[in-house]
């Protein structure tokens, strides 16, 4: 209940500044518009390969930077104020994560819609399952982003995350399939959970719902969500009396 109250409050705050929602999704949209046509014509892959990758890129950029909000909340005393209420630490985290997941869903639906306008022809069940997978990933990323923000010096968060997220996007194979990569890069890519989620999304968008890539992607996303939320809850509990 407290989680819902918090989530509704954050959603109301976020949707009040609509420009922020648009800017949050701008980079993947630009890739779709300016890189997508080249990608589709190059023979490297189709829109069904690119759009799932861009969705994971969106997840990394949008949910991965969520912690920025808590940096401000710390600075202005909001977090301290909330921590002295009876609300559980887990609900303080999950309220924020629920908002981030909803924001990502809105952005992702817009991106997929735009993808259809450009030539994406993925089956609807595959898209819906893919979005579900993406939301699991977003929950994990947002939770971990908050944990990182609470663990770092306030000024360090933005430069650190933007430095970490770019190689993670490249390693995930979001922009180009990792089947094109040399062996060492392919191995490196498999050390991150994002590679499996990208492959899973691509399988789902291709309509292969029970393919090993789809199942592995779902499993990795679910595990990542559980681990991310558990780690972040632990961080939220840190230092309480």
């Amino acid at each position: 209940m407290t989680t819902l109250v918090l989530a509704r409050h954050y959603v109301r705050q976020t949707f009040r500044v609509k420009a922020a929602l648009v800017f949050g999704a701008l980079q993947p949209v630009l890739f779709l518009v300016l890189f997508g046509p080249l990608f589709a014509r190059s023979g490297v892959g189709s829109w069904e390969v690119l759009v799932p990758g861009l969705l994971v890129q969106l997840g990394l950029l949008s949910a991965g930077m969520s912690g920025f909000g808590i940096v401000f909340d710390q600075k202005f005393g909001v977090l301290e104020r909330l921590r002295v209420t009876p609300a559980s630490r887990m609900s303080l985290l999950l309220g924020r994560v629920a908002k981030d997941v909803l924001v990502l869903l809105v952005q992702a639906v817009a991106l997929v819609g735009l993808g259809y306008a450009f030539g994406l022809r993925a089956p609807l069940p595959g898209v819906l399952l893919g979005l579900a997978l993406l939301l699991l990933l977003a929950a994990a990323l947002a939770a971990l982003s908050y944990a990182v923000a609470l663990s770092l010096n306030q000024e360090m968060f933005a430069p650190l995350m933007s430095t970490v997220l770019v190689p993670l996007i490249l390693l995930s194979g979001a922009l180009l399939p990792m089947s094109l990569a040399p062996g060492w890069l392919d191995v490196l890519s498999r050390l991150t959970p994002f590679r499996y989620v990208v492959d899973g999304l691509r399988a789902l968008f291709a309509g292969h719902y029970t393919a090993p890539d789809a199942l592995l992607g779902a499993g990795v996303a679910a595990l990542f969500a559980v681990a991310g939320i558990a780690a972040a809850t632990r961080r939220f509990h840190h230092e309480n009396a």
């Binding site: 407290t2 109250v5 918090l6 409050h9 109301r12 705050q13 500044v17 401000f72 909340d73 600075k75 202005f76 005393g77 909001v78 301290e80 104020r81 909330l82 921590r83 002295v84 209420t85 009876p86 609300a87 230092e239 309480n240 009396a241």
Partner: protein
């Protein structure tokens, strides 16, 4: 309302352990306004953060608002209000919305929360400002809004961390009036840290002066002054107990 014995907090740093608060004994009775004074780095904010469940003590015991601080932190939180030094709202936050959220987090339903917010805003002369973002409020209005945040759930005990820092004399006097009225009307107990000796003198029933994480002196403002001499001021008391004038600390 507060009974702490040997309350301590040691931080582990790269250069070794730092004892921020050393075996502090604190007693605050219901309905008292107690001032907590000390030089910068004396352990005031660390003590407040421990008493409000934000920081776990590394030693000692404490009962706050009738509940054990470390064994029952959730019960303590239900009975206390805390107004941190740095404020309680981001610049873009709407006052009414933030207050409603705060009320909901204390378990109030949507309607009860709205009614309670209206009541508290009215009592602190903020009724017309509910739809305004925090950034558009004056310093005094924002501080009263912070206090409103701490009072929504009708706590028995309110912690104020340097409530009037940065306010002009008129806004400070208005805030003192609010604190006195809340005590008179509701029997509210107030534990406040301050850098201002005039504030401590005018507002507090008793003072607790800390230095280097230890209690350097305690008593009513009148009794503390009397110990120094017939014409002594609180400045003299502070200088005598800590070896430094508080004005220099406040300016630092």
């Amino acid at each position: 309302m507060i009974h702490a014995r040997g309350l301590s907090r040691t931080f582990t740093t790269k250069t070794g352990p730092v004892e921020a608060v050393r075996r502090l004994d604190i007693d605050v009775a219901a309905g008292e306004i107690v001032g907590f004074l000390g030089p910068n780095g004396a352990g005031k904010t660390t003590t407040l953060r421990m008493l409000t469940t934000l920081l776990r003590p590394t030693g000692g015991t404490a009962t706050v608002a009738g509940h054990d601080l470390t064994a029952e932190p959730a019960k303590v939180r239900r009975r206390i209000g805390y107004v941190p030094q740095g404020g309680t709202m981001g610049p873009g936050a709407l006052l009414g919305e933030e207050l409603e959220l705060q009320a909901r987090l204390y378990g109030m339903g949507a309607t009860a929360a709205r009614d309670r917010v209206a009541e508290v805003l009215e009592s602190l002369d903020l009724a017309d400002l509910a739809a305004r973002p925090a950034a558009s409020l004056s310093g005094g209005q924002r501080r009263r809004a912070d206090i409103a945040m701490g009072l929504l759930h009708a706590p028995a005990l309110l912690f104020l961390d340097e409530p009037t820092t940065g306010l002009d004399p008129r806004a400070r006097a208005a805030l003192w009036d609010d604190v006195r009225r809340l005590r008179a009307e509701r029997g509210l107990t107030v534990f406040l840290s301050t850098h201002y000796l005039d504030e401590a003198d005018a507002l507090c029933d008793r003072l607790l002066i800390v230095d280097g994480g230890r209690v350097a002196g305690a008593g009513t403002p009148a009794a503390l002054k009397a110990e120094i001499g017939p014409a002594a001021t609180l400045d003299d008391v502070f200088l005598s107990l800590t070896g430094r004038p508080l004005r220099a600390e406040a300016a630092a």
